[in-house]
Amino acid sequence: MEYLSLLGILVIVIGFALGLDTVAVVVIAALVTALVSGIDFVSFLKILGKGFIDNRMVSLFFLTLPTIGISERHGLKTAAVNLIQKMKNLTPGRIFDIYTAIRELACLFGISVQGQVQFIAPLINPMAQAAGKVNGEMTELEVDQIKARAAASDNFGNFFAQNLFVASSSVLLISSTMKSLGYPISTSAVVLITIPIAVICYILCLLYNHAFDKKIKKGK
């Protein structure tokens, strides 16, 4: 009956898939796993409490919030918008190229922005739509594709570059999970391994955006 221990995995997979309260799902998954594995309740509390205290390093990124908060209050976003608005006479693909580069750089410096809300919808999509219209009206499908591509260019940069920042919560989580599993690794080594990923992703984006520009132009 040892396979019962896997019940906790089932709890977490289903809980997340159904969009239930994440904090509660994780703690319930831990409780279920421990109880079906023959760990008594008090021992479970001990393991849970010790595990949480030992892993406080994962939350060290909270220390960076005051700096980011003050920078935001004093126009971090305004300055970024000013930089982006200098992009003129560009194709949609080139705008996405530049935005993804900026997004990767922001990740490198630990600036976490809500890209979709703060930049894509209000700024990058309208600019790309305007750029797409230079060669004539676009079809509805093309308009929709530019929107989708704008959103994608934020996700690409965000996902594959966020581990470039040594204090990002994902780097801290990787290092701390490996420590719990008995294979301690350093956070700066994680950053180094991420460099090829961020670079390759960017090169793929350049090719992908170039093909997109060609397709839009051909449609005219």
Partner: protein, 307 residues
Amino acid sequence: MNILINNLLLAFYILIGLFFLAATVESWRDKTNPARWGTGLFWLLLAILFAAGQWIPNEINGGILLIIALLSLLKQVRVGKIKELDEKIANQTVKRIGNWIFLPSILLAILALVIAQFTKLGGQVGIGIAAIISLIVAMVLTKSSPKTVYEDTQRMVRSVGSAGVLPQLLATLGVVFTASGVGKITAKAISGLFPVGNHLLGVCLYCIAMAVFTAIMGNAFAAFAVITAGIGIPFVVAQGGSPVVVASLGMTAGYCGTLMTPMAANFNTLPVALMEMQDPLGVIKQQFPIAISMLVVHIVLMYFLAF
């Protein structure tokens, strides 16, 4: 050196506890939040765990976590009203200092990395020291008072909300999994289907499982604890794969799954609503080719870099 590092870390955890205490006070004062007492209690309990957990018996720490989970389950933890930023201040500062507003963020990243790489203090202490220095620089640069720092700290902490402690909770779940032998049992179940010992097969299995489980769960952090314990360690690391390569690439292999799932609502569904797109899966369709290519890139890189 180790004593110094541990003392510094302890000081940082107490500092984070104080941040949470600020969030507690401001949550209680926010009369527009119908769940203000629960939300404040949530932050207070976390403040206790961070600042004093060291000296509290672990059974009690565990019990406190159960209460935190219960509050969250009963929807008693809500962000509430966060004061919007005044655009006038932003414009004035940018006019005065221009792109120098990026300096504190850049300093934060570079200092943290430099301290991690070139001193014996290590990455974690590096983050703390870099955060404090860059905060001072930011205060001078923007002429901000300590009161503004308080205001922005509680604002940021509260808007991050319970999502901010999720990574740490998932790491804790990893500890419980290890204590319960989940990794060993998953490995045993999967090794009934696939042979252990083939490097390429192990790498493929781990990267694809990370992507698939992330897609199902909509969250790579959660998949990471489960899949790394169950597949990454027995099938790749225990076969001689470098732990740092396997773990780092494993997480981003999971992100390939994030690009392909409607479960990752913030990334793939929110833009559809924001930009009033016609195709609800439009973003995922545009991301699909890059996601698949990047997954292949991860498998190739892990195979060659880890062994």
